[in-house]
């Protein structure tokens, strides 16, 4: 059944990120087992699966966040637009400017709202002067759908905002460096339903410009926001396909068990 007609879910069909035979080990623990996946450009891809299935670990491979963990070892390769992101000449800091990340808990810097957003563009030298920086801050906060709420108090501390506003501020901060890809690790798990709906609406708008990958424990959220869904289980990528198909007629019985809320 083609339920993709329900809302417009057009996709570009170009591949933004290609992972090939990726394994991740935390010491002796084999956390990701031979994952192959192609992430589409300008689409939202949801990673779902039970706790400990490896979806966050895999997400963190995509911007080399796992480099910061000593015992973590990643093998296989991941290409961003054909470029091997684990190649020796790649600077992880520059890479993370291209692949931004938003975390589970809103984590604004203990600085003003303005500085939270301006920090990234400043250190990456994206603005020549104050006027350009102001423009980036405004544009990013507008994109993050929070500008109207904070434009009169840009000097107030970011930590003084509500949880939902803080998370949108963090999204604004992540897109201020003009990334190509946005990784979101359970961005709504600390938010109430209204703030969640606002962030989901934002995600849908962001996919016009960015490739978004979202890890979520809420299956309904994956169904609502994504065009592609990947189901992870015990470190394996069990099934990857169009969200509409995964939620109406998945081909793997483990996927079916998980999304229908049965014991696997």
């Amino acid at each position: 059944m083609n339920d993709m007609r329900v809302t417009e879910r057009t996709m570009s069909n170009d591949i933004k990120i290609a992972a090939n035979n990726v394994d991740v080990f935390y010491g002796d623990n084999h956390a990701i087992k031979g994952v192959d996946v192609e992430i589409e450009n300008k689409a939202v891809t949801a990673f779902i699966g039970p706790s400990g299935c490896g979806k966050s670990t895999f997400l963190r491979c995509i911007n080399r966040m796992n480099d910061t963990i000593d015992v973590c070892r990643v093998t296989g390769d991941i290409h961003l637009e054909g470029e091997d992101i684990y190649a020796k000449n790649i600077d992880p800091v520059q890479l993370r400017a291209r692949i931004g990340m938003v975390f589970q808990k809103p984590n604004p810097f203990p600085k003003s709202i303005y500085d939270n957003v301006a920090y990234g563009p400043k250190i990456h030298g994206l603005a020549k002067n104050k006027a350009e920086l102001d423009e980036i801050v405004e544009k990013s906060l507008r994109r993050a759908a929070i500008w109207d709420e904070v434009k009169d108090r840009l000097d107030a501390p970011g930590t003084g905002l509500s949880g939902g506003q803080q998370q949108r501020l963090c999204i604004g901060r992540a897109i201020a460096t003009a990334p190509e890809v946005l990784l979101m690790d359970e961005p709504c798990s600390a938010l109430d339903p209204i703030a969640t709906a606002q962030v989901e609406e934002l995600i849908d708008e962001l996919r016009q410009t960015y490739t978004v990958i979202i890890v979520t424990h809420s299956m309904q959220q994956a169904a609502r926001v994504s065009q592609k869904t990947a189901f992870f289980h015990l470190g394996e990528l069990v099934e990857y396909g169009d969200t509409g198909t995964i939620f109406t007629n998945p081909s793997d019985s483990r996927t079916e068990s998980y999304i229908t809320g049965r014991i696997g």
């Binding site: 059944m1 299956m219 309904q220 169904a223 939620f247 109406t248 007629n249 998945p250 019985s253 483990r254 996927t255 079916e256 068990s257 999304i259 229908t260 809320g261 049965r262 014991i263 696997g264």
Partner: protein, 238 residues
């Protein structure tokens, strides 16, 4: 796949709506067999009972719709659960229509019992009603057993119902041409035959829902259609 949900109340909800379908199915089977028996035996009381009982079938359909809406709102069913809920809703609609046709058959029985019998027609109608009822019983079995092969067999059997209808159409046309006094009775009998033919289509639709429920895809529409009556101008053309 495991059969049981972590939330056992979800299992009870799904079992509940499917049990309603089976109950509704049983009521419709009874309605069809009682209606055809009433016609054959000219039993006006039995026909009246069929008409009255249709209200209970209609009420059950509304109950199913309300319960399905509740399950969708509260459980957010996906994949096979979603297909279960959707097919329950569609099948209850089919069963409700089957009940209506049985009621219509019973209504015409009251009129027909006042008229002289048309030679040989009672037996043919009874056989057709019996075939439809057997198809319905099998469709409900296929549903509860998730039996795609049986469902496929039912879809093919609809062609036999169409052929029975063709034969009755020809028979009634002949009777009417032979003796215009047969026209009123034959018109009623023809509507009964036509309704039985439509019942076959609703049963086929139930069988198709079984295929969708199990496979996630609707079956291909490649069945042979045997109803040739739309093109007929004289009895010998059917």
């Amino acid at each position: 796949m495991n059969d049981q949900h972590i939330a056992s109340a979800f299992d009870r909800d799904l079992e509940g709506i499917q049990a309603q379908i089976m109950k509704m199915g049983g009521m419709v089977e009874t309605a069809i067999s009682d209606a055809s028996r009433a016609l054959e035996m000219r039993d006006v009381e039995l026909a009246e009972a069929v008409r009255k009982n249709d209200k209970a079938i209609d009420a059950l359909e509304e109950e199913v719709s309300a319960d399905v809406a509740r399950v969708i709102a509260m459980r957010g069913p996906t994949a096979s659960d979603l297909r279960t809920v959707l097919t329950v809703l569609k099948i209850s609609g089919n069963l409700e229509r089957l009940g209506d046709y049985a009621k219509n058959l019973a209504k015409r029985t009251s009129v027909l019992s006042e008229m002289p019998a048309v030679n040989g027609s009672g037996g043919s109608i009874r056989r057709m009603a019996k075939s439809v009822n057997l198809m319905l019983k099998d469709a409900l079995d296929a549903y509860i057993q998730r039996d795609v092969d049986l469902a496929e067999d039912i879809r093919q059997r609809d062609a036999e119902i169409d052929q029975m209808y063709n034969a009755l159409f020809r028979e009634f046309l002949t009777h009417m041409m032979e003796d215009p006094r047969n026209i009123t009775a034959c018109m009623h009998l023809h509507f009964i035959a036509k309704n039985l033919e439509r019942m076959g289509d609703h049963v086929t639709s139930i069988a198709e829902q079984v295929v969708y429920l199990v496979t996630g895809e609707m079956p291909d529409e490649d069945r042979e259609k045997k109803d040739r009556t739309p093109f007929v101008t004289a009895p010998d053309e059917v």
